[in-house]
Symmetry: D2
Subunit: 313 residues, 4 copies
């Protein structure tokens, strides 16, 4: 049985893309291949149906089918399911379905509405009540996408009030100080530990690890870069971790453009053989011939950069 | 057979609330009663599954069930269906279902994303392609909710380029000059006429009619106020229209508070016997005892204001 | 000597427009006339250089000149000065100047930046430090303009931590529940009393008073409406207060359109003889001939509505 | 005499920081040293009083003093002055002052307000009228900061309508396609050429150059990186340009965090001896001991990366 996520979870939970055919159907063959691809690169877990998984463009049935396919392929690997939804009942249904199928936890971002922190706090209590106390929850803090920045104090308040809020998907920007603040709350047992996995495409991963993050939860098309960076860091080899990381930075930064970057990511995944088509579902970014050539060039440059001697565990 | 909406549609298309039980289920009995209520107050059409219809918190099946119930009850009355959805395929499916069931047209707001007008323009062309040229479309222009204000020139460009974009749900704020600009485009045959129905809870209806609007598309819990205001105006009795309108303004303004106002609206509809419960679906506003008493007081004040002599057609 | 604002301040602090000539210069003659106009209508205080005073379009010298003119004309009337500025030093300079000249206090809105409440809390502590503990501060809570909504708990925290934060300019929207929450904090001595004056053009004034507001701080071009509504309410005659208020509601709602409404307000003030020109400073709204005729009509309708018997103190 | 910016301007116009003392005063000695620093690293021009120059926290006198100091030190180097201001008269005054003192042009971003493109278009025509047709204008397109994204078609319309709009400070994000679109307008003489200098901290500079940008206008604390990248690219050595650029990417990405990054930038400039203090003006980011150590580490890593063989012109 899969282990649930908890306050000590660490490593790389890769944000899985959802492969579509050129006609816009979920491509389950590619999805299986993509799970294999992620596993083969050593990820610690998967997060599916997140924003970069285009979940909001899928029907409830399609989301369930994705859960089925992934969970039947992922073996012991913990899988977190993004269940954010404008409707609380839909969110709770998807939570139940996910956990019944063996998910390791669920992920929720603040619902749309005013950025008042009392509203957001109440919302998460309501979410916890709706999904039940036994379901571990990863709070997604992604203000660039939601327009809803929150204070570290609010995250801490939530994490103290509800045992099930065990993990933060950290992608405030700038966010380095937030990690330091959250970890300082915990010093000397002042507060319960929170698993912190970072997003933003991985762009600040070395610094985030150095400030106390437990790993990454993001969707870079070279998951091995995240995996090795985290592993080297956790082995006490921070400089080597960053040496390796820096080689990937040019293409990571290219992939980390809002909106458009998802097209780049899927194009790279396709080029790497992980999925059959780079298609995003409409409305979504399309990769032009020029965009593709530009990305090809960055991929080739990365290949050259990786030919030098690399730090290995 | 129901007539489709067109560039000359006028009157009051009431934005229908979606009644829920206290347990959060769609209450189809109340929905039928609500359709009867709207019809009995003389509306020219219905618009269902809009933002104030809480469509985004419903599953695809629930939306279809609402379409079924309303269209089986509305007789010859034209019904516009809100089909906005993060996914284009979902939007197109709901359009097809609606039109098959006898809807008079569909309503779409710009999809979430940057407020660049080229993006919004392309989006509407894609919507038109996805639903097919035969489906009349009402463009919802509601920047306070979408964060996506658009220029009159863009609305006109869309309306000229695609014959099926026949109607504007106007709720830019401030928006009076926009009506004047859109009508000036049409002067002397310079552009195709656009049906303009106004929203914002009806708050500026007399001024909007005086500037050339064709009526209202909004959800005020006293639809008779909108109906009579439009009818008196269209009968050339603008002052009397406004005399009548002004009596409703105190409670209309109270209902027109963002978010919270939907709770007030449903509470009034319940008090008037149109629906069984004032419940909104979670997450949604809840009407406290104090809120209810405050609204009761405004309802009682309205009753007194209406006892004086009123203009009638 | 003028009394400073304090936690029990009440009544109507009118948000003063800043009159400009058609060439865009501050019109000090009109400014003096406008002060007289406000005083003659019975206001309890003035608030100058607020957002609707176009302060951000003025130089520091011009702001000081406005302070001089107003304070040399306002006699014993307390004058609050809006000192919001992107730079803390500029804000502190203007505070010092204002208080030296005899202002009753200063008003500050949260500085632009992310809507994180920890940032906003720190900002206000920094403001208090910069202006000094002896300067009474009115916190402007106007999310529609600032994009920075805050929880009642934050307002309370600030008001408890710093004695000088004595007043809230309340214009969250919806905001009725916020008043109730703030007053409930104070019940049984649980927290220090906060003077709450409401904004939003006065649009919800009767309800706000009924929930515990101390009056209004807004700029409606008919200040007598606000003054009499508050006075009747405070005399225990809430229904009559609202009867009177409702007659003004049609034009109040017209004036309360964002951006454009300032043009309407200044046009009415000009028509009423309070200022010489309706000009706003560029970039600002311009009142077209059509806009003017529309406003003339609403003014004439108001005159007729006021001819009926009115409640008087 | 300094040459004015024009439609063929190219190279690196460095966005100059404004040095402050720890007490918050403009530090003119450091400002002179900073101008020398930029010149010594080969920049083609300077842009002062931009957003990263903290202009909005300075008084009009302080802005003028900065202009004086810079222009008395910059020799023949073209200097563009950021004149964005909430008030049009202030903006025009600063334009006049700048040009009288020998500036090469001015830079303006869209004024705050709704993101409607008709409003923004009108605003720029009004700006052109206010500053006079002889003043060359650089349009700053920075939606992440202004919240006002614009279509390429609008930029083109402005650039065609007004000869003086000669330059685009491009920092839409994502923005690569925008460059391609703007250059495609110009193909075959379809439109007047526009100088395009890119921002976003330089993060996408190689790709932007490859798509037709003329250089950079941004404020990276290692201006030599921008200068050499552009020079190598313009010499037809795109791969070498990117090889060099990539070595700087880790610290560039660190500096390019919104808000916080300005603190990092000034800290590096201080460490490099270009200014005396890393202080930003309040309210502004402060660099903690931890932040400083983190940046020190990145600077040391950069030094090591630069020890390898580098491409040179």
């Amino acid at each position: 049985m899969t282990q649930l996520i908890n306050r000590s979870s660490r490593g790389v939970f890769i944000i899985a893309a959802t492969p579509f055919t050129d006609q816009g159907e979920v491509d389950h063959d590619s999805l299986r291949r993509l799970v294999d691809f992620y596993i083969s690169h050593g990820v610690s877990g998967l997060t599916i149906l997140g924003m970069m998984g285009e979940a909001n463009k899928m029907t409830a049935e399609e989301r369930r089918a994705v859960i089925d396919t992934v969970l039947s392929r992922s073996g012991d690997l913990p899988v977190v399911v993004g269940i954010s939804d404008a409707g609380m009942a839909n969110l709770a249904d998807l939570s139940r379905y996910s956990m019944d199928k063996g998910a390791a936890g669920v992920m929720v971002a603040p619902a749309a509405g005013p950025a008042r922190e009392d509203r957001i706090e109440t919302y998460f209590y309501d979410v916890c009540d709706a999904i039940g106390a036994g379901v571990p929850l990863c709070l997604q803090d992604f203000p660039l996408a939601t327009g809803l920045p929150v204070s570290p104090a609010l995250i801490r308040r939530l994490s103290e009030a509800r045992d099930q809020i065990v993990m933060l998907k950290h992608e405030d920007w700038p966010g380095l100080t937030k990690i330091t603040q959250l970890r300082s709350h915990e010093a000397g047992g002042g507060a319960k530990r929170l698993s912190i996995l970072t997003g933003n495409g991985g762009l600040y991963l070395p610094q985030e690890l150095q400030r106390g993050a437990d790993g990454a939860m993001t969707g870079f098309a070279y998951p091995e870069a995240l995996v090795q960076t985290v592993a080297l860091h956790q082995a006490g080899r921070a400089d080597e971790a960053e040496d390796l990381f820096d080689r990937y930075l040019p293409i990571m930064r290219h992939e980390q453009q809002p909106g458009f970057g998802l097209g780049v990511r899927k194009y790279i995944l396709m080029r790497r053989g992980a999925i059959a088509s780079a298609a995003t579902r409409a409305p979504g970014p399309k990769v032009s011939a020029l965009d593709a050539a530009e990305t090809d060039r960055l991929m080739a440059r990365l290949e050259r950069a990786l030919q030098g001697e690399l730090p290995r565990l």
